[in-house]
């Protein structure tokens, strides 16, 4: 009886969260890719992306969120983001420029810059997302 009451009590949050999460994710993607034109960028997008998972974890319990996005995957993504960034830089080196030189990534300097910035922002976003989620997992893991 009591439990049922509890369940009822959290129903609103649960539904709101379920509704909200896709929009938050969408917003994160918007911030990620619209960062060139407005405020935002990889870092902010990563945080917002992580925020979607955090609110999920807060409402449904972090164990449930772990099922959605397992710590193993998080760990890989964490490393992948950094690698993506660094390898973009190395790619510049291999194509004849300096480290992190985007001009050489594509035939024209401007589109090279475009791709370069896209790639590194993505790298930042992935790392920040996964680290933030990982932090949340670590701190919120159930004490009892």
């Amino acid at each position: 009886m009591m439990r049922k009451y509890q369940r009822q009590r959290h129903r609103v949050l649960q539904i709101v969260t379920k509704l909200l999460t896709p929009f938050v994710l969408l917003f994160a993607l918007y911030v990620q890719f619209h960062g060139d034109y407005g405020p935002g960028g990889g870092f902010q997008a990563g945080v917002i992306f992580a925020a979607a998972f955090i609110i999920h974890g807060l409402i449904f319990g972090v164990d449930k969120t772990r099922l959605v996005l397992s710590p193993g995957v998080i760990r890989v993504l964490m490393a992948f983001g950094v690698l993506l960034y660094a390898l973009t830089g190395v790619a510049g080196m291999l194509l004849g420029g300096n480290f992190l030189d985007y001009n050489v990534l594509a035939p024209s300097a401007l589109s090279g810059q475009h791709w370069g910035i896209f790639a590194v922002e993505l790298g930042v976003g992935i790392t920040v997302t996964s680290v933030m989620i990982s932090l949340f997992y670590s701190f919120a893991s159930s004490r009892r």
């Binding site: 034109y37 407005g38 870092f43 024209s108 401007l110 589109s111 475009h114 932090l135 670590s138 701190f139």
Partner: protein, 140 residues
Amino acid sequence: MLNFLALYNYWVVIVLMMAGLYIMIARHNLVKKLIGLSIFQTSIFYLYISMGKVSGGTAPILIGKISHEKEKAGSATSAAAEQITTVVYSNPLPHVLILTAIVVGVATTAVGLALIVRINEEYGSIEEDDIRAMEQRDPV
């Protein structure tokens, strides 16, 4: 007097900064120390951002249509160049620096908090005094 007003921002920031530093040094609660660190660092960010503000300026996101088509890149430049003659932008550089610094700050806070959780597990306390007493009782 004018000087005083113009520098008022800086001074408040310095007061905040020192308050943060004071919390870090003088408070014996470990979490409080980290909160102090946050305040300290945030005030430093504020110091930087103040330097980049230009009176009458606006956020350093170029106003006007900039084409992101690759072919039109050349003309976009000239369009942007026209714009900047009329609009004053604040200095973007401190913003970039502070974006980095914020991230660094939160990373430090996260590591510090993780350490606190572990310290609490091992010592059963997050008070500097208690921990020190315990360390003295059983030096390793």
